[in-house]
């Protein structure tokens, strides 16, 4: 979507205009939209079982989309496919805004929920076929909602509720019809590009496994509710992911990755830039394999570039979600529901006073760099808005969707769906960490060495890149164990000599005890923001942290932060025994 198109949609939304914007086709030419509106209308007015409530709220979300996936390894294509689809998600609520059928996890209903609801529509503009699936979806969702509400009320009878918080906020409906995203993306040149990029790893004998993946998802998102919201918004998201892994001579597993995000394929960096990035990954990983292992460190650490932004992305961003956990029938399960560690600290300091944090999905770029967490409306039809979350170190707000909290009754336009057709929870869009009186990198380095000296250390640590397992892949069992409050291991870390300031690449560190509270100890920050486009990791409504692996699976987001100096962190070697190094040499490089 062009920026001007987005701006005009926004304008229309804010003015509450119920008409199409600009030169786009009127709604009644759009068979899909028409089918959604008709079937939603029929369900809203007629769907009712005798003696039971009809729905008070219905919505349907369809992404009329196309995905392209191309991957290659070591100079040959592994996968090339394209899929046209229309994932569908309907939601039906019975009860009332105060107490409805949503956000309840019953012991029995846990398995049956949403089992029988159609999840996709036909990919052609055939009104009857479209409406047929919508008809079945609303029907099944309505019946499930009735059962959910009955079970929820039964559970509530036996629970003492200290607070009466509504289940669903009342919000103003919006209408905005953006242009339909043209499909049929021309990607003919890309398999060759991806293959060529992957072949660059033939220059790096020290690397064992590598790959380059290209992903594209483009389409139009349709959203219709019984409250009167009607949205059609184009979306487009392209990624290029370079990954490599190897073992050090002592067997230690090492990896590196480089992600690229853009609004579409043509906006990805030109091939020479991508090729340079592949070479950088190859070169860094080669150096890393030859680097000494630093198995322990305790002391001051300077996070710069991607590492600083990633630290906030992994530690802070999930905790800013104001998602109120669902009502859970089983008490043991309820105890395991993830809760934001910050949610109870509103108006209290959570960061040092020189740091402030805002989330602004309306900002499309920063200093020429596109921000991937940009959107005009969230997945509940709420206009995107900038939210000051932390001001002068004090927590001022949380990211909100339409599930109210006691202290925050309304959405602030951050209800985002995890994957297309997924459940909506509050998540970041573009998260900005800003430092007052930020310092030059060289000043920060000097402060690092000062702190080391004060602590009686002969060397300090600078981390320039953290792993992001959602993008870099990695050991699946380690992913499952991963807890929301830990940070993935550093990829690029440098020890700095206090004596002469010399920096040396080291490998083999992983974080010890660290949580969002650790960030309060930050002693200094830089003045140069790093834009870390990524896919968001977030709480899922069903409990647990949903981590979607692969660049195309998560919610596009950006975290922008300057360098950060932490006074005291602990690192140890990665847990578990090391695999022995490969027995034979790589066949391509073997003599």
């Amino acid at each position: 979507m062009t920026r001007s198109a987005r701006a005009s949609i926004l304008a229309a939304a804010f003015l509450g205009l119920g008409i199409a914007v600009g030169a786009q086709a009127p709604a009644n030419d759009d068979v899909l939209l028409q089918a959604m509106r008709e079937e939603l209308g029929r369900a809203a007015s007629q769907l009712k079982l005798a003696n039971l409530d009809g729905p008070f709220y219905l919505e349907a979300t369809v992404s009329d989309q196309e995905t392209v996936n191309i991957s290659a390894s070591f100079g040959a294509l592994v996968r090339v496919d394209r899929e046209r689809s229309r994932p569908l998600r309907v939601e039906v609520r019975v009860g009332s805004y105060e107490l409805d059928s949503s956000e309840f996890i019953g012991t029995r209903s846990f398995y049956t929920q949403m089992m029988d609801v159609p999840r996709r529509l036909v990919v052609e503009d055939d009104a009857l076929a479209l409406r047929h699936a919508l008809w079945l979806a609303f029907d099944a969702a309505y019946k499930q909602a009735l059962e959910q509400l009955a079970a929820k009320k039964a559970t509530l009878q036996n629970k003492v509720m200290t607070e009466q918080i509504p289940d669903f906020s009342r919000e103003k409906p919006v209408t905005a019809l953006g242009p339909r995203q043209p499909l049929g993306t021309e990607f003919v040149k890309w398999p060759d590009v991806v293959r060529r990029l992957s072949a660059i790893f033939r220059e790096f004998p020290a690397i064992q496994d590598s790959g380059v993946q290209l992903g594209l998802r483009v389409g139009s998102r349709y959203y219709v509710t019984s409250e009167g919201t009607v949205l059609r918004q184009p979306h487009s998201f392209a990624t290029m992911l370079v990954r490599a892994s190897t073992q050090a001579p002592d067997g230690m597993q090492l990896k590196d990755f480089a992600p690229f995000f853009a609004a579409n394929l043509d906006q990805l960096p030109p091939e020479p830039v991508l090729a340079a990035a592949v070479r950088a990954v190859g070169g860094q990983l080669t150096s890393l394999a030859a680097a000494p292992a630093l198995e322990k460190y305790a002391g001051p650490v300077l996070f710069t570039g991607q590492a600083a932004a990633e630290l906030f992305a992994q530690l802070l961003a999930p905790q800013l979600s104001g998602h109120r956990p669902p009502l859970v029938e089983d008490e043991r399960m309820a105890a395991q529901m993830p809760r934001s560690e910050l949610a109870e600290r509103l108006n209290r300091p959570v960061l040092p006073a020189f740091l402030s944090v805002t989330d602004d999905p309306t900002q499309a770029s920063l200093a020429g760099q596109a921000l991937m967490g940009t959107y005009a409306f969230d997945n509940q039809g709420m206009p995107a808005q900038a939210v000051t979350l932390i001001d002068g170190g004090v927590l001022k707000a949380l990211l909100m969707a339409r599930r109210p909290r006691q202290e925050i009754p309304q959405s602030n336009g951050h209800g985002r769906a995890f994957g297309y057709g997924g459940v909506v929870t509050p998540q970041i869009g573009n998260l900005f960490v800003q430092a007052k009186d930020g310092k030059e990198l060289r000043e920060l380095k000097a402060e690092l060495l000062e702190a080391c000296k004060a602590a009686g250390l002969s060397e300090g640590l600078i981390i320039t890149k953290l792993d992001d397992p959602a993008l870099s892949g990695g050991d699946p069992s380690a992913r499952a164990r991963r807890r929301p409050d830990t940070v993935a291991a550093p990829i690029l870390a440098w020890r700095v000599s206090v004596a002469d300031g010399k920096e040396e690449l080291v490998r083999g560190l992983s974080f010890g005890e660290i949580s969002v509270r650790t960030l309060k100890e930050i002693t200094a920050a830089g003045n140069e923001p790093f834009v870390d486009n990524r896919t968001a990791t977030a709480y899922s409504a069903a409990g647990g942290v949903a981590v979607a692996y692969g660049a195309m699976a998560g919610v596009p987001a950006a975290v922008v932060a300057p360098a950060m100096l932490l006074p005291d962190l602990e690192f140890s070697r990665p847990p578990g025994p090391q695999q022995k190094p490969a027995i034979l040499q790589h066949p391509y490089f073997a003599k």
């Binding site: 040959a76 009857l128 047929h132």
Partner: protein, 573 residues
């Protein structure tokens, strides 16, 4: 299809869904060893030599297996396209055995509750292009990974053998079988996608006339499969098959919430042999008629008594009740029920019944058999195995996992990429040496009912599939899921369609009650799922009359049919 209720009950399933597997492929290129094969041979030679010199405990057996899948899928519903896509993938399996033929890393650990899951690992995606460097790089990495895992397993195996009691079956872990060499053409299939999109859409629109049909779809799936296999014993194989299926599915609900569905499919090896529009239309109409009748049919109460299992039902019955219990590896595994392990040369079926499994057979009558293959997934040549000769048990379906009574494979080691091969069925053929004309079965059923004082018997005309439990931790039961069942009265009333029955029983009792078989043989093509993953199978069996079967009530959804009428012309604004 219902999953087993708990992990220990994981038995074996037969899924509805047919695919035809055959050895003949379209010759599009001369049958020379491809670059894929070359990469496999080169890397195998290097690995063997390298591990022999560099590793303390080199492998005694190494196998590389590559499955190349080119798949085209088209699906339509209500007259519009749901999906139309093509994809290509190559999956690599590397099998490394350390130790020796007698005792190796694959030896089943006694007392290990998770042992039954140990045969699965993810097959590694491989380059879909014939690039020697890329293919060899992947082979090298996977060999290294699997070799290290094999060493770890062997250490566990040795400790386990030392600690636990002596196993009842002391046969070796791996058989010695003849190496095979065969280079066939690579698979290719050309589907006229726009034409089929149009045809499937038109066929799917036929369901629109029936408001009772809530869900339906008409689909095509064409798969060109090329398999490459190289072993350290000298086996080199390249063979291929093409499988195309056109399937029609529809679903409705009775007023009491019971879900009713019908599925029909056509299988072929070339697009030319697929059904024409008239045949597709007839199948759709047949499905609609069945479902409309089933919705109105009465629900049957649990019953035990005489029944006819017509060909397809009979085939699935033999597959579940008998076939899974004669799969070789189950005779050795002490967690298995081992119904037939010690019954070789004893009578296990009525004397007029013989059973063999013959993957080399490409058709039965005019029906393609999809359980056909020229070599199994361990590279052993497919062969016909007489399992039961006139009621006497003669053999088991053997992979290269020997058992006390049989030390060699008979070409039935099968697996889906990523799983470890075990003895599986291919084309299970049930033959009757004495039979009665099909037309006489109905009268014999009445006679048997009268003898037993039953007012009616049952006729099972078609089934969706079934499942069985073969492990000791769960009862040795089977269940067959019928789609079309009739109540056959003895008092001259016409046969009555009924719904809501699942056929259940236990193996030994069930076979002792078979009275006669008819002269009409039917074929069932489907996918069979078990511990080595889904594999295509075929069953060919005559109708049988049995003195006693048992049915139980089918699990039923409590959800009502949709509350509003389907969207259509009537309610359009």
């Amino acid at each position: 299809m219902r999953a087993s209720p708990r992990p220990s009950g994981f038995g074996a399933f037969l899924l509805l869904a047919g695919l035809c597997l055959a050895s003949s492929a379209l010759a599009a290129e001369p049958p020379v060893g491809s670059l894929v094969l070359k990469a496999m041979e080169q890397e195998m030679a290097r690995a063997l030599e390298g591990l022999r010199t560099k590793a303390d405990q080199p492998p005694y057996f190494l196998m590389y297996s590559v499955t190349d899948l080119q798949t085209t899928r088209i699906a339509a519903t209500c007259g519009a396209l749901e999906n139309s896509s093509s994809d290509r993938s190559r999956l690599l399996d590397v099998v490394v055995r350390v130790g020796d033929y007698a005792l190796d890393n694959t030896h089943r650990l006694q007392g290990d509750r998770f042992a039954q899951y140990s045969g699965y690992s993810t097959a590694r995606p491989l380059a879909i292009e014939d690039d020697l460097a890329a293919l060899r790089a992947a082979l090298w990495l996977e060999t290294d990974r699997k070799y290290k895992a094999a060493l770890e397993s062997l250490t566990q195996v040795k400790a386990n053998v030392a600690v636990k009691v002596k196993e009842e079956d002391a046969s070796a872990d791996f058989s010695r079988d003849e190496p095979q060499r065969f280079i066939g053409p690579r698979a290719q299939v050309r589907i006229d996608v726009p034409r089929w999109e149009k045809r499937l859409k038109a066929a799917s629109a036929l369901f629109n006339a029936s408001p009772e049909i809530y869900r339906s779809s008409v689909s095509l799936r064409a798969e060109a499969v090329t398999k490459y296999l190289v072993t350290s014993e000298g086996t080199v194989l390249q063979h291929s098959s093409v499988q195309i299926r056109v399937g029609m599915y529809a679903e409705t609900k009775a007023e009491d919430g019971m879900e009713l569905y019908r599925y029909e499919s056509f299988e072929a090896r070339t697009p030319e042999k697929l059904p024409d529009d008239a045949a597709v239309r007839a199948a759709v109409e047949h499905i609609v008629a069945d479902l409309v009748a089933l919705r109105r049919a009465p629900v049957i109460e649990p019953y035990s008594g005489p029944a006819i299992l017509e060909g397809r039902a009979s085939g699935v019955f033999f597959h579940e009740v008998f076939g899974h219990r004669v799969e070789g590896h189950r005779q050795k595994d002490e967690q298995e029920g081992q119904t037939y392990t010690k019954k070789v040369n004893e009578q296990v079926l009525p004397t007029f019944i013989s059973v063999y499994d013959d993957p080399t057979l490409e058709r039965s009558g005019n029906k393609d058999l999809l359980g056909s293959y020229p070599f199994d997934d361990e590279g052993v040549k497919a062969q016909r195995v007489t399992v039961v000769d006139r009621g006497i048990l003669k053999n088991f379906l053997m992979s290269r996992s020997p058992i006390a009574s049989f030390s060699k494979s008979n070409g039935h080691g099968r697996n889906y990429p990523g799983f470890r091969a075990v003895g599986r069925q291919g084309n299970l053929i049930v033959e009757a040496s004495e039979s009665v004309p099909e037309g006489k079965l109905r009268a014999m059923l009445t006679e048997e009912c009268k003898k037993q004082g039953k007012p009616f018997g049952l006729i099972f005309k078609d089934v969706a599939g079934g499942f069985t439990f073969t492990l000791r931790g769960s009862p040795q039961v089977y269940q067959v899921t019928p789609l079309v069942v009739y109540r056959a009265y003895t008092d001259g009333r016409p046969d009555e369609l009924v719904r809501g029955a699942d056929l259940i029983g236990t193996p030994l009792v069930s076979f002792s009650r078979i009275l006669v078989a008819s002269d009409k043989v039917e074929v069932f093509n489907g996918y069979c799922g078990a511990e080595s993953g889904p594999v295509p199978v075929s069953l060919a069996a005559p109708s049988i009359l049995t003195a006693q079967i048992e049915i139980q009530k089918k699990q039923k959804s409590a959800d009502r049919p949709p509350l509003l009428p389907p969207p259509g012309k009537g309610d359009r604004p």
